[in-house]
């Protein structure tokens, strides 16, 4: 029901001034209770009313802003001089000092405390009062106690920019290991936001709030390496294919950049310093199929170039894109390149012709090889991390890897060996877990699996002492982890035990493959002669299948017999070779070959 009161005014009176007057209150509407309506309601008796006498609270969240701190030193100035004395004035101060020295009280005091001091000095010289006794016993005790391998996060360095980029590469400072250089870029093709910053940072481990130094390249850096001989120089490969080098003493801008015409045409995925007399040589690899050698003093063009063409013709169109490089200073003429296509190409630097540069390839991976590293203790063996597995290879065996991990649920994006223990290596996965593998301890699973963050971990680097490692994630967060002592102290006999078994096994498998192939070839030659005699000798599919079956069972029998003999031999020698079943049977390729004959 609306209660309305209407104000009216004659139109002729519009605009006239208002004359206000008082009048008593008027009753306009009086709504009387309607008792008939009460029948629609019932009386509520008793009435329950809840009342609470409590403090009203409200919830608030507060987060402080990131605290940026800077360390500064204090300069001490002399003080305490009497007011009338000017401390700058040499003569006056000397006079004052002489006066004090003549004071008798001074002399007595000094005699006393000097005696005490002399006693302590002599004590120091006599014996080391803080000497640790029974040091050797302590060590033994530690070895016996089985320590659970563990790793814990020490520090987290977040990308200070608003737009987060992936930490694509890390490099530890060569001396002292107190600094970490991290390269940031966005590897998503053309999805980098416009206001993404191009900077990469050098962090001081102790200060996670603010990077110690910023490097400002022209294009985001995909990889970054310190010069192992001169710790002020860093070289970075950028997203647009150029190489730039910085001198940290000279500032954030690159000291020199390579010219665009002669640089790579794709992002430079890896750059490594070479062993040379001048210490200024680097080589870089990129998915455009080229490996270029540069001298950083003359960045206008590379002094050597290699096209990764497997047909050895130097054809850039056929070339395999390179995603990782490997170079060991103990073997300066050889280097290896991991490609996008899953092949590892081993190359020789000193070859005369470009065709000879590519020595051999190792295949076995299904995807780009993100990490390639030789074992620091056994340079003949190297680790590759690609697709969903990590594989360990021996240089001599080109057929397949000698050891491999199972297929994981997430892609493996980077990996590296531990520099102190030959059997330990680390891998990082797309789901943000870090796996620590100890192949002497357990081969099927990682010894330690740690979830570092929720996003993908894209890069990992272990410090030279093997204790600390840094891993970079997709959102630019670099985490510094410390590994437990068990994983970074060398165990006894470790070096002796590695890889003997696996290499032997692969050699035997390779020999068997070769035998099989020779047999195939001789058989196929014979069958071709037979077929030539038959007029229209086309076998029907049924016959083909029957033949394949027959051959299959023949091979099985032959293999079984061989295995049986071998086992007997094995028992004599007492060697444990892990041969589940000869892989040639389960190798679908060879089976199909035979069926099609």
């Amino acid at each position: 029901m609306e209660i309305v009161y209407v104000y009216t005014k004659k139109r002729s009176e519009f605009g006239r001034q208002c004359n206000f007057s008082d009048r008593p209150a008027e009753l306009h509407v009086d709504i009387l209770p309607d008792i008939s309506l009460a029948a629609n309601f019932t009386v509520r008796d008793p009435c329950n009313v809840t009342v609470q006498c409590a403090e009203e609270m409200s919830e608030h969240e507060v987060n402080t802003e990131r605290f940026e701190s800077e360390s500064r030193g204090i300069n001490h100035v002399e003080g305490g001089w009497p007011k009338d004395l000017n401390p700058e004035d040499m003569e006056v101060t000397i006079r004052y000092r002489k006066k004090v020295e003549k004071d008798e009280h001074y002399q007595n005091t000094i005699m006393q405390i000097a005696g005490l001091m002399e006693h302590c000095c002599k004590q120091n010289n006599a014996t080391d009062i803080y000497q640790e006794f029974f040091e050797e016993e302590d060590d033994e005790v530690v070895e016996e106690s089985e320590e659970q391998p563990s790793a814990k996060t020490i520090n987290v360095f977040r990308d200070p920019n608003e737009v987060k980029r992936t930490a694509t590469s890390l490099c530890w400072h060569p001396d002292g290991n107190h600094k970490l250089a991290v390269a940031y870029s966005s590897l998503e093709f053309q999805r980098a936001p416009n206001d993404m910053s191009f900077d990469s940072y050098i962090w001081d481990i102790e200060n996670p709030n603010k990077p110690e130094m910023t490097l400002k390249p022209v294009s985001p850096l995909v990889c970054l390496e310190y010069n192992p001989k001169d710790s002020h120089i860093l070289v970075g490969g950028s997203y647009n294919g150029q190489i730039a080098y910085w001198d940290t003493r000279k500032g954030s801008q690159p000291a020199e950049m390579s010219t665009i015409e002669h640089s790579h045409r794709d992002p430079v995925y890896k750059v490594i310093w070479l062993q040379s007399k001048t210490g200024t040589d680097i080589f870089s690899a990129s998915t455009d199929g080229q490996v270029l050698w540069w001298d950083i003093r003359k960045m206008s063009e590379p002094f050597e170039r290699l096209v990764l063409d497997p047909s050895k013709k130097g054809n850039l169109d056929n070339a395999l894109g390179a995603v990782s490089l490997e170079f060991e200073t103990t073997m300066p003429t050889k280097f290896m390149v991991g490609t996008e296509q899953g092949l590892v190409v081993s190359c020789n630097r000193k070859a005369k012709t470009p065709a000879e540069k590519i020595v051999c390839t190792y295949s076995g991976h299904h995807g780009p090889i993100y990490a390639l590293q030789r074992n620091p203790f056994f340079p003949k063996n190297f680790l590759t991390v690609a697709d969903w597995t990590a594989r360990i290879w021996s240089e001599d065996i080109k057929e397949s890897s000698i050891m491999w991990t199972k297929y994981h649920m997430a892609h493996l994006l980077d990996g590296c060996w531990s520099p102190v223990r030959p059997s330990v290596f680390f891998t990082v996965k797309m789901d943000g877990t870090l796996d620590v593998w100890d192949i002497l301890f357990k081969q099927n699973d990682p010894t330690l699996s740690l979830k570092v963050c929720d996003e993908a971990l894209c890069s990992i680097r272990v410090q030279d002492n093997g204790r600390f490692l840094g891993c970079g994630s997709q959102l630019g967060t670099t985490t510094l982890l410390e590994v437990s002592a068990g994983l970074c102290t060398l165990q006894k006999n470790e070096k002796a035990m590695m890889f003997e078994r696996e290499t032997k096994r692969e050699k035997i498998l390779e020999a068997r493959h070769r035998e099989m192939r020779l047999k195939e070839r001789s058989r196929s030659e014979q069958s071709r002669e037979d077929e030539g005699k038959e007029a229209d000798g086309e076998e029907s599919t049924e016959e083909l299948v029957a033949r394949a079956e027959r051959e299959f069972f023949d091979i099985m029998e032959a293999e079984k017999k061989k295995e049986w003999n071998e086992e007997r031999q094995r028992e004599k020698v007492k060697d444990v070779l892990l041969l589940e079943a000869p892989s040639s049977i389960y190798n679908p390729e060879s089976w199909v070959e035979k069926a099609l004959l």
Binding site: H76, E78, G80, R97, V100, I113, G115, M117
Partner: protein
């Protein structure tokens, strides 16, 4: 005066001694075998440390008092002998 000189020379000649500083209660270095900036730095810092150490010792037991303070670090050992009006600082590299 000569005795003081002699004593200081004796301490100086001990094996491993790198420097000696005598400071008065106001923080003025009276005698020093090190350069001025190091002397001033040592004097200032040691003074504060002494106050704290003495305060701590007397807090735990009011009858007690600080007689000597040794600070051993990675590179050397700093020995401080305090007194009411002066203190003597000796920096020594202990023979191991």
């Amino acid at each position: 005066m000569a005795e003081v000189e002699e004593t200081i020379k004796r301490i100086q000649s001990q094996k491993g001694v790198q420097g000696i500083i005598i400071v008065n209660a106001e923080g003025i270095p009276i005698k020093s075998t090190l350069d001025n900036s190091s002397t001033v730095q040592y004097a200032g810092n040691v003074h504060q440390l002494l106050l704290k150490a003495r305060g701590m010792v007397r807090d735990i037991d009011p009858q007690n008092d600080l007689t000597f303070l040794r600070v051993r670090s990675k590179k050397n050992e700093i020995m401080i002998a305090p007194d009411k009006d002066y203190f003597l600082i000796v920096i020594q590299n202990p023979t191991e």
